[in-house]
Amino acid sequence: MTPHGSGIRGHLCLLGLLALLGGALFGGELFFGSVNIPLRGTLEYLLTGEGLSPEEAVILRELRFPRGCAAWLGGASLGVAGLLMQTWFRNPLGGPFLLGTSSGASLGVALVLLGLPLAGRVPALGSALLLGASFGGALAALLVILLGSRSLRGNTGILLLGLMLGYLANAGVTVLLAFGSLSGMRSYLSWSFGTFGGISPSDLPLFALVCASALGISLGLGKSLNALLLGESYAASLGISLGRVRFLVFLATALAAGGVTAFCGPVAFLGVAVPHLCRGLFRSWDHRLLLPACILGGGALALGADLLTRLGPRGTLLPLNAVTALLGVPVVLWVLFRYRSGEGEL
């Protein structure tokens, strides 16, 4: 399963490079911003806790550091969620966004932000509540896709089902928006653009915990996912207990997609693009390699996308989803054409 000698070393080098790239981009997150903080001061502050003015220290500690962490964790989680979905559904265009998982999570969030005030309860806006609703929405959408995949033949059908699910969830959100309170509407809309910058330092540990559990679960699934590449029947013949693996795959996907959507909004295209980029980069099918690759690569790509949002004119921020779409759509198209030409059938 693993290539011999030099292959392994080459792959470890690549993984190391991806980790370094992530580190460098994380440094970029800390350094670049609308407020100019000197590099030397930043480095000194990181090492000794001195060297910056209190305001600069607050910006670094409460804005830039959480943002960088959220971007890396979010990208890693979405990349892994995409890989899990692509392998489980045997669909090269699987991903939390395209298959409606993110939309399901959005509906969950909308129900909390808009629906609860309607019902006469002002939510204490607990992050845990938001997270739970998002996780529940993601899981529900995944289950619908799972049921659909039982009777729908072909990848296009599942893709369309995911799209319809997305529309349905959006319809629910619009209804809630139409009747929602103004404040609820505002908080929902600002959330719905998707950004890694909205996370508060106090929510970061919870977000990290959710992402870490999703990543941890999936890292243990490498062997089973490899068998699943051969199809469910062959996986079963190789001793995989499909029920158990399905539970873990769905749990990890819902945690990752639900978690990211709750704290960062619906982030498009990272989930579908990262696994393809990693497969192409490593020229491998082996999940024991692809899982860490998607974590490191997804983290780096999300950090890169977030840095690109700062290229807006006159210090304004570009919407995150515009940047991820620019990065992701070409990948999706490439997959479509490769798939149409009959070269690969994941």
Binding site: M1, A227, L230, G231, S237, G239, W285, R288, L346
Partner: protein
Amino acid sequence: MSPLLPLLRAENLTTGYAGRRGSSGERSGITRNFSGEIFPGEMICLLGSNGSGKSTLLRTLGGFLSPLEGRIFLEEKPLEGYAPSERAKKIGVVHTGNPSVPYMTVEDLVLTGRHPHTPWHGGLSERDRERGARILRLLGLEALQKRLLEKVSDGERRRAWLGRALAQETPLLLLDEPLAFIDLPGGAAILHLLRRLAAEEGRGILFSSHQIQGALSMADRTWLLTPSGECLQGVGEDLLLRGDLERAYLGDTENSGGVRFSQEEALFFAPPSREPLGEVVLSGPSGAALKWSRSALERRGFCLLSSGPPELPYVELRQGFPEDSPVWCCSWGEQKRRCASLEEVLGFVEPSVRRKGKDSL
């Protein structure tokens, strides 16, 4: 009969899909009341026409599809009592599909068969690699082992899927058309290999195939699925000589579309349906040359006689030694020609018959 315990035993098995597929499920071939055993060291071929339920039976025996009725015992323990990981060490399978996985090589695919023997992280030991290398060697895939599955031919990929099942090193192999896409010599070599594995390693092998002749002559026993849902069991040659094989594949002769069965060669063939062009007298020593001369003339629509009146065209096959190439001495009335190929023979007799047809008009 045998002092050994069966590897697999099925009791009063009824296979099929439990009404889930609606009306199409009724047609998809259900085997009823099947009882059978597979012993170690035994190679059984599973025959039956398309839709007779071969794949369904194989999937049921492997535990991938629940039987509608009846029970299956794997080494005398109920099959459903096995955890998937235990079962994977007992039963290796090849399903009908022949998919490829992006970036996966032939060697990678064969080595996925080691999966049940690897620890949780899936790392391969030296031993696993040795086993894989041996299978690649046995299947003649050594030169292709580093090639991507997407880049090899269907037949080569099929071999790799079979290699995956062999690498699993299970006492029982359930192979659904392992010879699909594979050329005839390759298929014969694989059947020979399977025989060897059965004899030397005591594996029990059940395989389905449409290469009836090869399968029948290599397998110890044959299970023949009939359109009515029965399974006839026996030595394959017996089933053939009793006419069971012909009945199972052709059913009612009216619906067979003119296809007939040659018991001698275990082959189905469609005799020419057009009006006979005319009669030709063919003679010569029996052997391959005579058989194929007959085939070429009959395909053109000639009725062949072994003797006849002198106004008919005569084709006399001459062959000195077996290694000599055959020569056909043709004569019709005054015309005579020595032909070195059947193409020439056809060129000679065809216009002669046409002319004769015109004359008689």
